[in-house]
């Protein structure tokens, strides 16, 4: 009996340490993503005054819209935190519930961003208009694409929680999704500060 307990314990520890290894790997992937975004920021900062006689950021950006986007993403960070808390309590229903709420907030964010992009494009200020707008659309759009992939991932996880329950493997994946989601919120802080707020003064 004692030996089986020890073996079972070892098995659980192996499982847990496997989770740690995967999380560390995912974290390192995020570090490479940091470099991706820093290159996009470098390009934006360097090209942000190359208007080519086109409009400036000050003329285009709508701060209230950006503020709502920011709030949507920030609140979704909190709701994802609640996913993790419910996960620890083993509360399957609320894990799914908060995941869905996070999903809706994310959809709101992406929707507002799409609205902004289409609005600009229809007014003739698409990414082809100037180097400034190319770098603006690419930087903000890359972040938006990341959020979109995060949304797909959330849906996949909702499905996994429904079919498999909160198994260690599912819990481990939810932990990585949490890293991803919070990471995207951090990138957004840099985006709204550099692109939108900073853009008001260029």
């Amino acid at each position: 009996m004692a030996t089986t307990d020890a073996a079972a314990h070892d098995g659980i520890r192996a499982e847990a340490s496997q989770g740690t290894v995967v999380n560390f790997g995912f974290w390192l992937y995020l570090m490479s993503d940091v470099i991706i975004f820093s290159m996009l920021f470098v390009a934006f900062v360097n090209l942000s005054t190359n208007y080519a006689q086109g409009p400036t950021g000050q003329e285009l950006f709508e701060l209230p819209l950006v503020f709502i986007e920011t709030m949507a993403l920030l609140i979704s960070s909190l709701t994802y935190g609640l996913v993790m808390i419910c996960l620890r309590q083993g509360n399957t229903k609320w894990v799914q519930g908060w995941l869905l709420i996070t999903f809706l907030l994310g959809v709101g964010f992406v929707g507002l961003e799409l609205y902004e992009f289409l609005h600009l494009a229809f007014e003739g200020y698409g990414p082809q208009r100037s180097a400034f707008l190319s770098s603006f659309f690419t930087l903000v759009g890359t972040h938006g694409t990341h959020v979109t992939f995060g949304l797909i991932w959330i849906l996949v996880m909702v499905g996994q929680v429904a079919y498999k329950g909160l198994t260690p493997a599912v819990a481990s994946r939810l932990t990585r999704l949490s890293l991803f989601w919070h990471f995207l919120d951090i990138v957004w802080i840099a985006v709204f500060s550099t692109v939108y707020l900073g853009g008001m003064y260029r």
Binding site: T20, L78, G81, L87, A190
Partner: protein, 113 residues
């Protein structure tokens, strides 16, 4: 070991509602300040840009600590160290490029346009 998965051991989070709430409230404040300063034009240009920069950096640190749980505890040390190293390299690359192109644009007038 009960059925509730032990996320601590998986390097996840020892998150509590308390720590998330503190982080969230700080983040709200640190978002509201720069938006207010810029949106309502409360400060002149240099001071406003400094405010935006400083609040952004603080807010990033708040997120890293309260949401991503980066600290120097044993299970998070590797993540924190790699994060710090990445930040260092990022600073070299971003800072170096901006510094370089400042000179280039000044001397060739390629910027602006």
């Amino acid at each position: 070991m009960s059925h509730s998965p032990d996320t601590d051991a998986q390097g996840g989070s020892e998150a509590t509602l308390g720590s998330y709430s503190v982080g969230f409230i700080l983040a709200i404040i640190l978002t509201a300040i720069p938006f207010a300063v810029v949106g309502f034009g409360l400060l002149p240009r240099p001071e406003a840009l400094i405010t935006v920069g400083v609040t952004a950096v603080i807010q990033i640190l708040v997120h890293l600590y309260f949401f991503l749980h980066l600290d120097v505890s044993r299970e998070h040390l590797a993540n924190t160290m790699t994060g710090v190293f990445t930040a260092l390299i990022m600073a070299v690359l971003v800072g170096g490029t901006i510094w370089l192109f400042y000179s280039l644009n000044y001397r060739t007038m390629m910027g602006g346009g």
